[in-house]
Amino acid sequence: MSEATTHHDDHHDHPKGLWRWVVTTNHKDIGTLYLLFSLVMFLIGGAMALVIRAELFAPGLQLVNPDFFNQMTTMHALVMIFGAVMPAFVGLANWMVPLMIGAPDMALPRMNNWSFWILPFAFTILLSTLFMPTGAPASGWTLYPPLSLQGGNSFAFVIFAIHLMGISSIMGAINIVATILNMRAPGMTLLRMPLFIWTWLITAFLLIAVMPVLAGAVTMLLTDRFFGTSFFNAAGGGDPVLYQHIFWFFGHPEVYIMILPAFGIVSEIIPTFSRKRLFGYTSMVYATASIAFLSFIVWAHHMFTVGMPLGAMLFFMYATMVIAVPTGVKIFNWIATMWRGSMTFETPMLFALGFVVMFTIGGLSGVMLAIVPADFQYHDSYFVVAHFHYVLVTGSVFAIMAGVYYWLPKWTGHMYDERLGKIHFWWSTVWVNVLFFPQHYLGLAGMPRRIPDYAVQFTEFNMISSIGGFMFGFGQLLFCYIIWKCARGGEPASARVWEGSRGLEWTVPSPAPHHTFDTPPVVDDSVAVHKDELT
């Protein structure tokens, strides 16, 4: 079956050294660049989080001044969302989409090079605002006016950076859609595609639909701030609440952009280590599509406290809760996949299982926040912080790590150090809960988010949380070491890598050669992750 992987070495010579990475149009190179970029951003964003947690270790102001503290919360979120999580998923897509659908490369390799190389510039601009006289933005990542319009002139750089990130994401998304729709190998019908491909296809459509809306919203901020328009300026007849509507019309689909590919990764890993096919494949596809659709009609659950009519609050409350249904379908399908499987617990599986358990905790606190009268109490408190860190850190980030461990042998040709991988998992899992679980209590007790100081009764939980933060943070250096070590050497990996793995990516040798599937493979039920009953 796998003779499709004819290995031809360098049939046209590509540039060597560093220059190779600048001009490369190879999906594997670009995937690697995205992933490394994301790792660097993860460390920078993490350092900012540690500044926050250090300041919050005790009440009172000790380390940084409040304005810098606010810059840290704002920049931490922007760096993590746009610099770490999203590029990591795009990197995984670059590496794995062509391999999983049997394509020789992405549909638009040159544009692919551009989408990546825009990012380092965007983030250099964004991070450079930290060193400007008026400092980085300090109004929270949501950039709500009027506060965001009262900062310094460095705001213009922030907007420009966001525009660049948006352009990069949109180009990347267009590329992924074109690849998935037009480059599949013969026999790779839509309903035979691995779930990672499905979730990315839907995510790409979400990106194309909402990144431009964000671009519009920040452009309005820009013209309000510098060119005398009054979109959000009440004195000129505008309305700041309008900004919140436009922002969250982008913002809620954005949170699904950061979780759908994670669902895809976990849906690849759990079957492999349960040695079964994914339970309820078709329902998984429909659940993903309905989550994506619903994500457009729930945005106002972020703004229940602005003063909406009762009918609107009820609508957004119920619409939000409805999303829990397809999400629940997915969780039950993962559990059913494991049911009576012969499971083993290698590091990718551990992270995937950690994902299922802890993402569910985040989903449940989300449902609590969706209850309007409860949200009046919880809104803008640490409860919200706990909620979105469970879904984003133990959700998205854990899924990314699971994916990295799962595919690392395919990328490097070596097995990673399993013992260290397990230590990394348990270390991270313990400390991430020490870090974020107490924040639920802080929020319920009334501690507001985004403040550098707090009332003394919150001290203990904050100390616990900060200790968890530092331990979790330093634990990630182990992750870097494991990747480095695996890239350098280790036990050679077979093509299959995992006993229970299925899918085209495991039919090419490890490490995956520079060019794969130059002749398209033939896909039938033995390689397809899903048996297509219709054919």
């Binding site: 049997g102 394509a103 020789p104 549909a107 638009l108 949109i170 998304a173 267009i174 859609v177 074109a178 729709l181 037009n182 480059m183 599949r184 190998a185 013969p186 790779m188 194309i208 639909a209 909402v210 990144m211 431009p212 809306v213 964000l214 671009a215 519009g216 919203a217 309005m220 979109f231 009440a234 004195a235 007849g237 309305d239 609440v241 309008l242 509507h245 436009i246 019309f249 003063g307 909406m308 009519p309 002749t519 398209p520």
Partner: protein
């Protein structure tokens, strides 16, 4: 293409369609602005209908003598405007359908003339459709000379069709500096 014979579009055509979608969504972001304004105007949600004068005349026989509505008056000055601004009366009991008048006082603490603009809003949002101002200082710009103070009247009628459940209506003003007009003023001096 050696790969899957695609029944849909060729790659350039598909990319063109997706790019058009992205551009259209950028436009949609801007379209949300008028949509939002229209929506608020129809529903009165953000209390902005309070910004326009109503020419409706109410006859005295339409006065609803069966109930009282409490009207609160509220005033805020934007931090960019060195004025004092207060309602003379904080609260009033009114009969729906009857015309009332109250006064706000503004005082310019600065040593130069400044133009201010008041932006009204009515809460709860649903009441704003039934709160009609026949005269208001918010309909025009207000110019106050250095250290000048002024009494500014508001005349209003609460529509008798105001839903029974609403017993309390708050009329709130935020006073902003009209920077352009103030600059023009300074230049012509």
């Amino acid at each position: 293409m050696r790969h899957l014979a695609n029944k849909g579009s060729t790659t350039p055509w598909l990319v063109a369609k997706l790019a058009v979608l992205a551009i259209a969504m950028f436009g949609f972001g801007y379209l949300l602005v008028p949509l939002y304004e229209k929506f608020c105007e129809i529903t009165g949600i953000d209390g902005r209908t309070a910004g326009q004068a109503t020419g409706v005349e109410y006859l005295t026989d339409q006065v609803d003598e069966s109930r009282w509505v409490t009207v609160h008056f509220d005033a805020t000055v934007n931090s960019g405007l060195p004025w004092q601004f207060e309602p003379v009366e904080r609260m009033m009991q009114v009969r729906p359908g009857k015309l009332y008048e109250t006064t706000y006082i503004a005082f310019n603490r600065a040593d130069r003339p400044i133009v201010g603009q008041a932006v009204p809003s009515v809460a709860p949002g649903r009441a704003s459709l039934f709160f009609n101002k026949t005269e208001c200082f918010c309909f025009t710009e207000q110019l106050l000379g250095a250290r000048e103070s002024r009494e500014m009247p508001v005349r209003f009628v609460v529509d008798p069709n105001l839903p029974e459940r609403v017993e309390l209506v708050t009329l709130s003003y935020i006073l902003y500096q009209n920077e352009q007009a103030t600059a023009v003023l300074a230049a012509t001096d």
